[in-house]
Amino acid sequence: MQEWANQLCENRQFGSKMTDSKYFTTTKKGEIFELKAELNSDKKEKKKEAVKKVIASMTVGKDVSALFPDVVNCMQTDNLELKKLVYLYLMNYAKSQPDMAIMAVNTFVKDCEDPNPLIRALAVRTMGCIRVDKITEYLCEPLRKCLKDEDPYVRKTAAVCVAKLHDINAQLVEDQGFLDTLKDLISDSNPMVVANAVAALSEIAESHPNSNLMDLNPQTINKLLTALNECTEWGQIFILDCLANYTPRDDRESQSICERVTPRLSHANSAVVLSAVKVLMKFMEMLPKDLDYYGTLLKKLAPPLVTLLSAEPELQYVALRNINLIVQRRPEILKHEMKVFFVKYNDPIYVKLEKLDIMIRLASQANIAQVLAELKEYATEVDVDFVRKAVRAIGRCAIKVEQSAERCVSTLLDLIQTKVNYVVQEAIVVIKDIFRKYPNKYESVIATLCENLDSLDEPEARAAMIWIVGEYAERIDNADELLESFLEGFHDESTQVQLQLLTAIVKLFLKKPTETQELVQQVLSLATQDSDNPDLRDRGYIYWRLLSTDPVAAKEVVLAEKPLISEETDLIEPTLLEELICHIGTLASVYHKPPSAFVEGSRGVQHKRLPGSTESGESESPDTTSAAAVSDAPPAVIPSQGDLLGDLLNLDLTPPTTTGPPPPASSGMQMGAMDLLGGGLDSLLGGDLGGSPAIGAGFGAPPAAMPASFSAPVSGGLDDLFDLGGGVGMPMGAYSAPKTVWLPAMKAKGLEISGTFARRSGVIQMEMTLTNKAMSVMTDFAIQFNRNSFGLAPAGPLQVLTPLNPNQSIEVTLPLNTVGPVMKMEPLNNLQVAVKNNIDVFYFSCQYPISMLFVEDGKMERQVFLATWKDIPNDNEAQFQIKDCHLSSDAASNKLQGSNIFTIAKRTVDGQDMLYQSMKLTNGIWVLAEMRVQAGNPVYTVSLKCRAAEVSQWVFQSYEAVLKN
């Protein structure tokens, strides 16, 4: 570094004698020593030059802390420049040399009384930087004076100093009453003082979330809003960020704050603009949608966001990351502004990629042609990363806008014709997804894809191609040749490709068993014998066993109907999105991660949620949220693996209920020695091949090579899996309420009916006890339902075959279906029943728990869930609390699953489990739920979203009933 400095000086010695680089021209030897001598010189001018040299060294990162005492000695001077320079030095080193800094205390205290406000401010500012308890004692008095100084420059410096002091000794600041003084400064006459006071207060509040410091009430809010108009741009940012934490009492207050914040959208400072956008995005949640002002506000938000995109690229980047969130929350704001997101070729790559992402989010039927034309243009650009993303974007368009799918596919085919290697590979990867979304529509292009087989060298593209070949094996004449060609270099492929190849060949085998046994044997033995990869080996064994025990089942499993892929693949989960909207403009919004992932350590993290328009502000008051949210638990956002496994299994294995009984446990042990394929293959291959000893031998061989210890766990695991997969049997059984009396004997001439509803093995049943409390025999029972909300109707006659004698009871189970006539009832789950016997016709009404109507395939795919949740308007969201529930979230989830309330995902944030659940009613209505469970807190919060909002309360009742029993 020294050499560098010297060299630098040499370069500059020619014309620039007056510049600061001359301060580097000291000899290498004894530089510090020399400086020391100069600092102690009697001549003022020499001293000053020496201090300048010291500072110049400091700026280039040289350690000149050894000169501390000598520099401090220069402090007592009436030369302002020298004093300032010494203070500069002190501020840099006071933190690392606190003990020596105490030497300067007297001068500080004296300077705080100086007639020149600049010196007073400098002194109090520098003192605040010295992190020693001893010095803080001396600081208090001067600070108190400075906070009330007549000069605003001193006051605003002192305000910041309170924050510094609070950082060193919070208790002291509170005891000395500085916090109150600071709060008073919010009403200061000078806007810059207000700005710094707000900044200091928010910093202190941030480090002590419970301090209740910024208790925002309408009065302080009003003060802040007044200050907002006058204070500096930076102060406006602090004030706006502070406002964003406030929850207005009602929509009127919300509107008036929005009105006063909107002028900030025209500020030249983009950080002010974005902070204002945050406040507006949050408060507009509370405005009724039919309000004129709501529409006006929406319109006002677009121009400033667009303007942010004409700023410097770094600003654009942050703006784009935030716009990405805004577009997900309120796509209507920017729906007409597609063009500003078009990419310029000299945009930095990080801007290009973000713009592309937003283009896809804004793509709709109205603008898809334009978007596609742009994307095609981008796909011929130079930057490989960008081109890849553009090609992917075309695929996403196809999946998002159905009308454009055909055009997208033909665009992709054009791109494949360019033969540019990475373009072709990306195109194949996305075409695979298009096949998944629109089955049996575009398979005609497979031939074109196959032409490019040889050029694929990336694992993802190879895997995609293999998937296509396997999936459409019956349409590709030479599928076996194609797959065989991949098989040659099996061990050199990446795991992704190997796994895919294994599956594809098994599919091929199941589709064309006669020609491909050799191939399948080959791949199974490659996977099970020659591979070190446990995933591959396990998958190999499982296929093997499936094929050997029950090829029909294998077919059902391997060739099962796949769920369609949903439109948007990378939407942010709704609650996270809500939280991020409250944090627009922060690092969290740039990384699209919850703020708790950023703030390391113990600073309390407040989970912010958007205020709802239906809820009153009370439940959202900052006090309660902050108190509940302080937690030291590290955020663990990845759901536990076990759950995931279970989820996936349940998700996909429930449909093939025809798989047949799970293999008996003992069959696992046979694996060791016996022919794996056994007789099972016969049924698949037909008689002529079934007996072929070659096949038997071929398949029988590998287990011999398998280590003995391996077989037991595998079989055990397998059985476990199949138990799970058998999935028809419910883990806990559906909950059914105890019977209650529906028809008292007094009202029905001696016939008493009590009953309940239950759902057993997918059938809704009405379970009744008929008791004859009359004196005569009852016969000729029949039952009828009135029209009801879900079309419930008896699936058969009431089976009371024998006459019912006096004082006799009989248990009757009546299966129900839901194909009866529908009429909306009040309450919704009311059922009017008529029962007839030989005496009379009796009428009664009963209410069935809505959980009876939850069907077994009510598990929604994750992606669909995300999209649906977002899609359902917030007005339809209902929130309930379940009190006194002591189950763990897993137990609760299990219990609910018994009643066909399926947990799709689980996320843990700060010890709070969030379960995302779905259920489907018999009439196809989906209900989505988010259940929050806090360990140790017996109150669960359930948020329900459903397009038919009126079912929510009955669903909630079911929740309560199921969980509490």
Partner: protein, 471 residues
């Protein structure tokens, strides 16, 4: 890390069991990126809990990757933190492509790239990144303002002033004074004459008193301004950002406008500027001096101006309005497989110039790597081809509508290299004096509050911003 490997493994196992194939695996992993996010594994050292300030440290880095200035507003952070930045810099190839926000185990690095220098700030807690980026640009602006340029040499020549400036601009992470007017009164800009005087008399570069503006509610203006000649000049500059496709159709076009002011008026003048057609301006940002309410209600700019140069307002006219495109370009650029050569033919003509002359016309093309040299003839102006940067620049000058400039000829290509897949875009530079292409016009400028008659002037100019023609 181990955990996440296990995590994916489980997904794969479960997928293979159910025969639930490839694309699902992909989409699940994708979805978990969103649902989950990474958990931070490094535990923070105890000092970490201390500071909550915004900008902790600033490093200035030149294009060679040398740190030539560092400033810490709190404790000293080792410059080794910049290694993360250097890594990203390495990866980005071009300095423009370094991501502005970087995450390291204990810090965030937020940087801007200005005048071939990186301004790199170190952040420890959650702060609004725009706040930091705006501030960094303001620092660069201030250097520009003080020293006439923002370069390594000028900064190292004025280290002490730079240091004083940085200290004055930020205290404990809060911006203190960022208005150039205010700063200049506290820390005087260098000038040769003053340096000489200072050396002779022992005077200093530091203002002895507080700037007056700090005391008033108009912090942007100092009190007691006096000029012999009172004048106010306004420059309306509009830049056209446009993308024109192969066929000459406008893909997108927008205008970025700015009104720069140079106001040298004595006392406390109160100015009002009105426009012929204020309707055009629906997306504006103002200098803090502009009274927003008056703009909202009357569509006039009413303000007490800062002293000297400042940006009064910027505005944006979006692509939804019809934006006039001043020139058209007829071009063909072809590369031939055989003979490894290419042909280029470009003609430019006037389109919508509102009767004004197009000047300083220049076409820049970033050629594909395979183009070794260009052998072209220009009917007007000169062209250069830099074979290291692959930049073809055709400097045309004034556009004569009677005799359209043309550039044509052949390109020699590297042999044995496949034809370039991409077609180079044309970047157009131009200037039209005395015209704001949006049609914006200032109708009057009035002054209140002072008695003298100022000299007033408004100048218009239209330029090409990011004006691109695709081929």
């Amino acid at each position: 890390m181990n955990q996440s490997q296990g995590f994916f493994k489980d997904i794969q196992i479960s997928c293979l069991v159910v025969g639930w194939l490839l694309s699902n695996t992909a989409s699940i992993i994708l979805s978990f990126r969103v649902w989950g996010g990474q958990s931070m594994t490094d535990s923070a050292p105890s000092w970490f809990f201390y500071s909550a300030e915004m900008i902790h440290s600033l490093f200035l880095i030149n294009h060679l990757g040398d740190i030539f200035l560092e400033k810490h507003w709190k404790s000293v952070i080792s410059r080794s933190v910049c290694d993360y930045f250097f890594e990203a810099r390495e990866k980005a190839v071009d300095p423009e492509n370094v991501p502005p926000v970087l995450q390291t185990p204990h810090h965030y690095l937020i940087s801007i790239y200005r005048g071939k220098l990186f301004f790199l700030s170190v952040i420890q807690t959650e702060v609004p990144p725009l706040f930091v980026i705006e501030f960094l640009h303001r620092v660069a602006d201030t250097f520009q303002d003080y020293f006439g340029e923002c370069s390594e040499s000028v900064i190292t020549d004025n280290l002490v002033i730079v240091y004083e400036l940085l200290e004055e601009m930020l205290d404990n992470g809060f911006p203190l004074a960022t208005e150039s007017n205010v700063l200049k009164e506290m820390i005087r800009p260098p000038n040769i004459l003053r340096s000489v005087v200072n050396t002779l008399t022992g005077g200093s570069n530091v203002g002895e008193t507080l700037p007056q503006g700090q005391l008033s509610n108009i912090p942007w203006r100092r009190a007691g301004v006096k000029y012999a000649n009172n004048e106010a000049y306004f420059d309306v500059t509009e830049e056209i950002d446009a993308i024109v496709d192969k066929s000459g159709t406008t893909v997108s076009a927008e205008i970025q406008g700015v009104i720069e002011a140079c106001v040298k008026l004595s006392g406390m003048p109160d100015l009002t500027m009105s426009f012929m057609n204020p309707r055009l301006l629906d997306d504006v940002s103002f200098h803090p001096c502009v009274r927003f309410r008056r703009w909202e209600s009357e569509r006039v700019l009413s303000f007490i101006p800062p002293d000297g140069n400042f940006t009064l307002m910027t505005y944006h006219i979006s692509s939804q309005n019809l934006v006039a495109i001043p020139v058209y370009v007829k071009q063909s650029i072809n590369f031939f497989e055989a003979g490894s050569c290419g042909r280029l033919d470009i003609t430019i003509g006037p389109k919508q110039t509102m009767g004004k002359t197009v000047e300083d016309l220049k076409v820049t093309i970033h050629m594909p790597k395979a183009v070794l040299n260009a052998n072209l003839t220009a009917t007007q102006g000169n062209y250069t081809y830099d074979c290291t940067t692959k930049m073809l620049v055709w400097d045309i000058g004034k556009l004569n509508p009677q005799k359209l400039p043309n550039l044509r000829g052949s390109l020699s290509m590297q042999t044995g290299v496949p034809n370039p897949e991409e077609n180079p875009s044309l970047n157009i530079d131009l200037k039209i004096q005395q015209l704001a292409i949006s049609g914006l016009k200032v109708s009057r400028l009035d002054m209140y509050g002072e008695k003298y008659k100022p000299f007033k002037g408004v100048k218009y100019v239209t330029k090409a911003g990011k004006f691109q023609v695709r081929t």
